[in-house]
Symmetry: C2
Subunit: 208 residues, 2 copies
DNA sequence: ACCTGAACACCGTTCAAGT
DNA sequence: ACCTGAACACCGTTCAAGT
């Protein structure tokens, strides 16, 4: 029951709704990727004329933004408890879990501008942790922006497979890549190393 | 038919060349972005029938890959001189300079799989630096993969404007974003902080 | 060997018209 | 107010035919 959006006058199924359009689009994206989403296919899934969508969504870009906001609103980071390093680790883990739930959408969103908005719980949660860590107020935004960009790169590379592909390369080209049996463990190790790197960067940047 | 000269710079002459197709495509991408590139527009620029392109390039995906390889081959990292921290900083700076030369192409490539290939000078250069830094041979690939993903995220966010937008947010919402006069200095500061973070992560990961 | 025209199966979106 | 059909201006790609 996360979203407290509007819920005003929710008709029954028959009527076309902005929310209904977004959730149907999300289902298509989860199944086949953002590239396979089209206004016409979405209309077909909803059993409606393609042009009917334009009475609820101005265009395809707005549609994608709406779907993104639908799941961005689900992110409720827990930023309390423990020292700030633990808070940041938990924060990163929560966000990564969200990315794993909808990898197609997240990979697309991370690669495009305007994914993070200043009002998002993501940004307010992150800047809060940085402030409690002791980052000077004048530098919280810059530090948060850099950390966001770095971590987005990790999630993006993890989501599109680049990370897994490169991480198993053997130093000597004679041997092939390692077996995929330890892929999950390796992925978690990569994640831990990535977050430790970000934490080390913050620590090195704190005023002494 | 006179020309037997095969200097592959098929400009507007007559003969269509794979290289000529790639460079023309790169020009279009630099001007208007990857999204504005189409086989038909590219053919129009080359003064040729759209279908003629398919005799030299199998499809659009291969076209984009060819353009990417065209500029990936230009990256010749200088990995010698100084301690490994200096080598890594120089390496990152060189790669960032390449990204600034063709931002539209790089932003698109960073977001898609297969941008980094194991034979690329990028990967061999990076793994070489990590090895000299003392990263155990069994972990060079994983560490290099994570660092690549993190740094890609930085370049991506820098290229699509997300980084600059978030970095200037003020802690108190009352004040607007800072003036853009110091944008370049801020960008360089962000870059320095990003690379320092990566270095700190490596240092923390080195065997004691 | 290289190039081309016509055609197919798609797109997003506008607009005037229906109810 | 909401929905629709027809139409416009595009796509990538196949195929048979030209030279």
């Amino acid at each position: 029951m996360a979203t407290s959006g509007q819920a005003s006058g929710g008709r029954r199924d028959a009527r076309l709704t902005e929310q209904g359009i977004y959730t149907a689009a999300l289902r298509l994206i989860d199944a086949d990727g953002v590239g396979a989403l089209s206004m016409r296919k979405l209309a077909a899934v909803l059993g409606v004329n393609p042009m009917s969508l334009y009475h609820h969504v101005p265009n395809k870009a707005a549609l994608l933004r709406g779907v993104k906001n639908l799941i961005a609103a689900q992110f409720r980071p827990r930023v309390d408890g423990g020292i700030w390093q633990e808070q940041l680790y938990r924060f990163a883990r929560d966000f990564r879990a969200l990315a794993h739930q909808h990898p197609n959408l997240i990979v697309h969103s991370l690669a495009s501008p305007d994914f993070i908005e200043p009002e998002d719980p993501f940004w307010t949660g992150l800047t809060g942790i940085l402030t409690r860590a002791g980052v000077p107020a004048t530098e919280v935004a810059a530090v948060g922006a850099v950390l966001t960009s770095l971590f987005s790169g990790f999630l993006l590379a993890e989501g599109n497979g680049t990370l897994g592909r490169l991480a198993v390369l053997q130093p000597t080209p004679t041997a092939g890549p390692a077996t995929a049996s330890s892929a999950d463990a390796g992925g978690d190790r990569n994640f831990t190393f990535a977050v430790q790197t970000l934490i080390a960067g913050i620590e090195a940047h704190l005023p002494r």
